[in-house]
Amino acid sequence: MNGRGFDRAREDVAAPGTVDGEAPARPIRLQVNNLDFFYGRHQALKDVNVGFPAAGISAIIGPSGCGKSTLLRAMNRIYALYPGQRASGEILLDGENVLAPSYDVGRLRAQIGMVFQKATPFHLSIFENIAFPLRHYERLSRAQQSERVEKALRQAALWDEVKDQLGRSALALSGGQQQRLCIARTLAVRPEVVLMDEPTSALDPISTARIEELLAQLSLDFKVIIVTHNLQQAARVASHVVFMFEGAMVEEGSHEQIFLSPKQQKTSDYVTGRFG
């Protein structure tokens, strides 16, 4: 853990496009401008504009189908796997538009990692699950690999449980352990931003609690953006909250603003449980 997330955050304080209105001095790491997103003819995101602060955990909340996962999936261009899906607008990472075709998608995904709703361990050993993607980026000796694998597993709070069985198949782990392995795998390639798409919705309460503790730890080193349909979870973990509804960004702001004094009626209705 070298805290480079923080270092970098302090470097580019004067990022453009901060939140309008009062006192938003927080530096912006990821800025979304005029983002439209289409699944074929269906428009899932409508002119979304939002900035994500460089530090801490941002949560994207909203009812099912509001486009929160779509927004996340636009950030690392994972949607490009599907021919019918396209995005227009800009997503600026440190000032550079990652949606531009000239922005190398491999480089983008190394910078912006992603953890999915369902744990997705590869059919490899626990060690190889982390070492295989690592070797794609760096030439490492066996010893260096072991070191990095251990570090990633420690960061994901999984090391103590698996340190004696690194050669075992990752598929033999429990659901919560598999999800932490996927987090470790994402962290090992040292991204700047970690996207999490409802990472605990398939887990039991105890595993969920472990991952939430872990999130707080991770946010010291990485920018974390989490999509969750669980309001309590957003309230527990996030310092910055984005509320989306029907493909549009309705309101964003600090944890306190969204949950205690929302400006929009829709936000207020949602966070007080009147719909969704």
Binding site: N76, G106, R109, F116, F122, L124, R185
Partner: protein, 285 residues
């Protein structure tokens, strides 16, 4: 609706249900009878001709005793060569279809052509390879036999591997790509591994299919009464030996044909069971 009308309708449905079930059961039994009959005849006549000479001696001239060693070896070698030819090509084609042309028009067309090839009469494939690999050379050969078997095996492997890859959860594909790995690397290291149970099962079932093919070998490898480990020459093989010996007027040859049929049946059955066990073992985790 009146109660007695409801009960009349229910009774009608019961009768129709019972009649349907009886018909379905009868049809199943009808199909099974033939299968059991075939297996029983093969097992009974084959077992009577079974002995150690079968696996230690060559095919005999009429009237004398012998075994099927050269035929077993020829079949083994040609099937092995066919797998070596068809498996890599088939797997690569399946990777292209499933990963890079899943929904493209060209992919759909090629998948359809592959299905046509899958059901092509094997005798046509035999003739095709005869034209290509036997006539220009001037004589039958084990290589030509292996080529014919490979052409039959190829579409089986393409189809099963394509389906196995398509069954890999999309989330696994996304997880690999989200790490910034190129698609080919995700395919080679993650997806093929996840689909390996289906792929290997497909190859095993394909081998079971070609092990008993006779028609394409009649045109290509033909037969050889003597020991031959040289694929440049005609090679003995179990299906053609069964064919020739069963058609002959000699009792000793008839017995050998039955023994060969039994050995082939047991091999194919064993392979099918192996494929199932393997698939269950690999997908159970």
């Amino acid at each position: 609706m009146r109660w007695n009308e409801i009960s009349r309708r229910v009774r009608g449905r019961r009768v129709a249900g019972a009649a349907g079930l009886s018909l379905a059961t009868a049809a199943t039994l009808f199909g099974l009878v033939w299968l059991v009959w075939i297996l029983w005849t093969t097992a009974a006549d084959g077992a009577a001709a079974l002995n150690v000479r079968l696996f230690t001696q060559m095919t005999p001239p009429p009237g004398s005793e012998g075994g099927l060693l050269n035929a077993f070896f020829g079949s083994f070698l040609m099937v092995l060569m066919a797998v070596a030819l068809a498996a890599p090509v088939g797997l690569l084609a399946a990777v292209w279809l499933a990963e890079f042309a899943r929904t493209s028009r060209l992919g759909v067309v090629i998948r359809m052509i592959n299905d046509v090839l899958l059901s092509a009469p094997s005798i046509v494939i035999g003739l095709f390879v005869y034209q290509l690999a036997v006539r220009p050379v001037g004589h039958f050969s084990g290589y030509a036999g292996a080529c014919a078997l490979a052409v039959i095996l190829l579409p089986v492997i393409v189809r099963t591997s394509d389906e196995a890859l398509q069954l890999v959860p999309q989330t696994l594909r996304e997880a690999g790509l989200a790490l910034g790995l190129p698609h080919w690397k995700v395919t080679a290291n993650v997806l093929i591994r996840a689909a390996s149970a289906g792929i290997v099962t497909g190859v095993l079932l394909g081998v079971a299919r070609i092990a008993g093919e006779t028609a394409p070998l009649l045109f290509t490898s033909l037969n050889n009464q003597y020991w031959s480990a040289n694929p440049k020459t005609p090679m003995a093989n179990v299906p053609v030996v069964i064919f020739q010996y069963a058609m002959s007027p000699y009792d000793t040859w008839h017995a050998l044909a039955w023994a060969g049929a039994l050995a082939l049946t047991v091999f194919v059955l064993g392979l099918s069971i192996l494929a199932r066990l393997f698939f269950r073992h690999r997908t159970a985790r």
